[in-house]
């Protein structure tokens, strides 16, 4: 039964898993045997790659910094984005159209071009060399997509539902809390995930804002090692493995909820 389907999906799964397998097994080899015998399990498992990498930076600190920056930014994006989208979806007029496109415009430019001004603003706010410098930028980066996706979703909510609630005497905020927000859960999950990845994996802004060892994010802390170990692929692979583990673990732990959130039938009127 479903042999064809399984064949397709198993093939793709192999294409996904094989590189990861290569990454992990080679991160346990030594510098040169990795080239001689790339695709087999290591003969001797060298844990030293990991211990070397781990001892060359304060990875717990890096991790914590990334975690704070990402979680706080996501929370703000979701809350502020929901409020704004609720308004945009309900308020139909010339100004709302304008504001909608105004937000969307933010998706269409590489925010890197604004780096110089942003650096100036962050400096004036006295946030340089702190993880807090990243949060407002990530929020601004995440809002366009949040507004884009959430507004689309809210517009799909049947008007009758909201009108009925209004007539029942719910306030606007009440409706948002009691009716809209629960319906939006899958969309919010989409927005959160869609933003989680670029926030977590952002290298540019940490690179220009943070040079202080104790405020570094995980990816920033890790990429210096790319340079330092550039001639040693086994260490680079250990670094890659280490840097991917946190999100991967989070994802695998929550994949059930997460996939449910993303795919549970959006809105069933």
């Amino acid at each position: 039964m479903h042999a064809g389907s399984h064949a397709v999906l198993i093939l793709w799964s192999a294409i996904v898993i094989f590189p990861l397998y290569i990454m992990v097994i080679n991160s346990f080899k030594d510098r040169l045997s990795i080239y001689k015998d790339t695709f087999n399990l290591p003969k001797i498992w060298h844990i030293s790659n990991y211990t070397d990498v781990l001892s060359s930076g304060d990875f717990m600190r890096y991790f914590l910094n990334s975690f704070i920056a990402v979680i706080v930014s996501l929370a703000l994006v979701v809350i502020l984005g929901t409020l704004a989208s609720y308004a945009l979806a309900q308020w139909r007029g010339r100004w709302s159209t304008f504001l909608h496109f105004f937000f969307m415009a933010g998706m269409m430019l590489p925010i890197k071009i604004a780096s110089i001004k942003l650096l100036e603003i962050i400096r004036i706010l006295g946030l340089l060399n702190s993880v807090w410098a990243l949060i407002p930028i990530y929020v601004a980066m995440g809002l366009p997509i949040a507004v884009f996706v959430l507004t689309e979703f809210i517009r799909q909510i049947p008007k009758d539902l909201l009108e009925a609630a209004l007539i029942d005497g719910c306030g606007r905020l009440g409706i948002l809390k009691k009716i809209v927000a629960p319906l939006l859960r899958p969309a919010i999950a989409t927005v959160a995930i869609y933003n989680l990845i670029p926030f977590w994996n952002d290298l540019w802004f940490p690179l220009i804002f943070i040079s202080d060892e104790k405020s570094k994010t995980l990816l920033l802390g890790v990429t210096r090692l790319f340079g330092q170990y550039q001639t040693d692929w086994s260490k680079v692979l250990a670094v890659l493995t280490l840097s991917s583990l946190p999100v991967l673990t989070l994802y695998l732990l929550f994949s059930k909820h997460f996939i449910k959130g993303m795919t549970s039938g959006a809105i069933k009127g």
């Binding site: 510098r31 040169l32 080239y35 001689k36 304060d58 600190r61 914590l64 910094n65 704070i68 979680i71 706080v72 929370a75 703000l76 979701v78 809350i79 780096s115 110089i116 650096l119 100036e120 400096r123 006295g126 946030l127 340089l128 060399n129 702190s130 993880v131 807090w132 949060i135 809390k177 927000a181 629960p182 690179l207 220009i208 040079s211 202080d212 104790k214 405020s215 990429t223 210096r224 790319f226 340079g227 330092q228 550039q230 001639t231 692929w233």
Partner: protein, 431 residues
């Protein structure tokens, strides 16, 4: 639902509180686990003794963290109250991040300066300090070592720190097994390659995937053999000689000749791959810079270096390139201390300490007699004896030709351009 909202709100509140309050010094303020070099740090905040000065140093040498930290630790003996933090960026990011930080007044106090145009531009923009009056600078370096960091009007914008050289690394074991000797001319070199290839050994480890290495280590390494030293280079810069003259066509012709001796799939062989190919004895030779010396320190075979051979042995010259200099930020909060560090680098004591801590393969540029420890490093330096030396051809004045020349070299190696076409494509860019 309500609970979740509450939690989210709490998180946000927690997050925003420090933003509003005293957030100047990063919100997390744990007990900085500093490196062992500063044992006397904890407690006793305000003693009447001299204030500690914190300086930062920007660099593109992310590989050298350990060495530079040693150097900085040695400087502590000279200036106990100055603490320098080495903050390197990966090479491809250095130009971009440094410029952004300088543009917004957040640059490091001390930083590595690129030579020639790139450095001059940052001096003109007012970011690099005028170093001309740093004691010892003008006296302890030769004019040619000062030149890369000198403005046309003679002002210095950095203190020369280290130079690099270029040559052919070769595997002595393989050479011995094949009965080969070090080639003295280009023809002999090609013969050596042919013999190796006939015996199933990849002669050269070089590839073109990363682009820069084939130009900087290989082509610019061999170029002085064809065009001559600095006196000739100037003629090309002035336009008296053309970049598609016979010398250049010969150089492109010769480099095109090595294409069959590069590894299979050299189009995708990166610089790191090349190093490993040489290191694992999968390739017998590698045109590379002296900065790689340390990589093969623990190689389990015997190796050496020879100068890239010219068509006739007498023409053999060496590309000995002024690479790094250190300068200070005009806007540093501690100009005195930063300057003192640079002045120290201009003293015999400082330069010796520096060269002891420089990674192998970076050569001091100061005039004092400095003994290097590493055998291979001395072997490299010995290549300069009795030969013309010059900086990499395009650096002093023709930097705009870097990319076109890079593409031309790759073109002839891939066979998409003839040597004449390659030379013409670059020459056409100069009026």
């Amino acid at each position: 639902m309500k609970n979740r909202m509450l939690i989210v709100l709490l998180v946000v509140l927690l997050a925003v509180t420090p933003l509003l309050g005293a957030c100047q010094q990063s919100a997390l303020k744990p007990e900085q686990p500093e490196k062992a070099e500063t044992p006397e740090k904890p407690a006793e905040p305000e003693k009447p003794q001299k204030e500690k000065v914190e300086l930062t140093m920007g660099s593109w040498r992310a590989d050298d963290v350990a060495q530079m930290n040693n150097l900085i630790a040695a400087y502590k003996a000279v200036a106990p109250d100055v603490n320098i933090t080495f903050q390197p960026t990966n090479p491809p990011d250095y130009n971009a991040t440094l410029r952004l930080q300088l543009d917004s007044d957040t640059g490091p106090d001390l930083m590595y300066a690129r030579s020639y145009a790139t450095g001059q531009e940052l001096f003109n923009a007012g970011f690099f300090a005028d170093c001309t009056d740093i004691p010892g600078l003008m006296d302890n370096f030769t004019a040619s070592n000062l030149a890369p960091w000198q403005m046309p009007d003679g002002k210095m914008f950095a203190v020369p720190f280290a130079a690099v050289s270029h040559a052919v690394y070769y595997n002595k074991d393989i050479f011995a097994a094949q009965g080969l000797s070090v080639p003295a001319t280009w023809d002999e070199f090609i013969e050596v390659c042919q013999t190796l290839k006939d015996n199933g050994i990849t002669p050269l480890a070089n590839g073109v995937a990363d682009e820069w290495d084939i130009l900087e280590c290989f082509f610019l390494g061999m170029l002085p053999n064809y065009v001559g030293g600095a006196d000739q280079r100037v003629l090309y810069e002035k336009g008296d000689k053309k970049l598609n003259d016979e010398n250049f066509v010969n150089a492109y012709t010769d480099i095109a000749e090595v294409a069959p001796f590069l590894p299979d799939g050299f189009e995708a062989v990166t610089y790191n791959d090349s190093q490993v190919l040489f290191n694992t004895q999968a390739a017998a030779m590698f045109m590379d810079g002296s900065w790689t010396l340390g990589v093969y320190a623990d190689a389990d075979f015997d190796w050496g270096v020879f100068a890239i051979p010219a068509r006739s042995a007498a023409d053999t010259a060496v590309t000995f390139h002024p690479d790094m200099a250190i300068t200070m930020n005009t806007k540093t909060a501690h100009p005195e201390e930063a300057k003192a560090f640079l002045a120290w680098l201009c003293t015999k004591e400082g330069a010796t300490t520096a060269s002891e801590n420089l990674p192998v393969g970076f050569f001091p540029m100061i005039n004092f007699e400095i003994q290097l420890e590493d055998v291979h490093a001395n072997e490299f330096l010995a290549l300069n004896l009795g030969k013309q030396t010059d900086a990499r051809f395009v650096w002093p004045a023709l930097m705009d030709l870097y990319s076109p020349m890079n593409q031309a070299v790759i073109g002839v190696l891939k066979g998409t351009m003839t040597p004449q076409q390659a030379a013409d494509s670059v020459a056409a860019l100069l009026p």
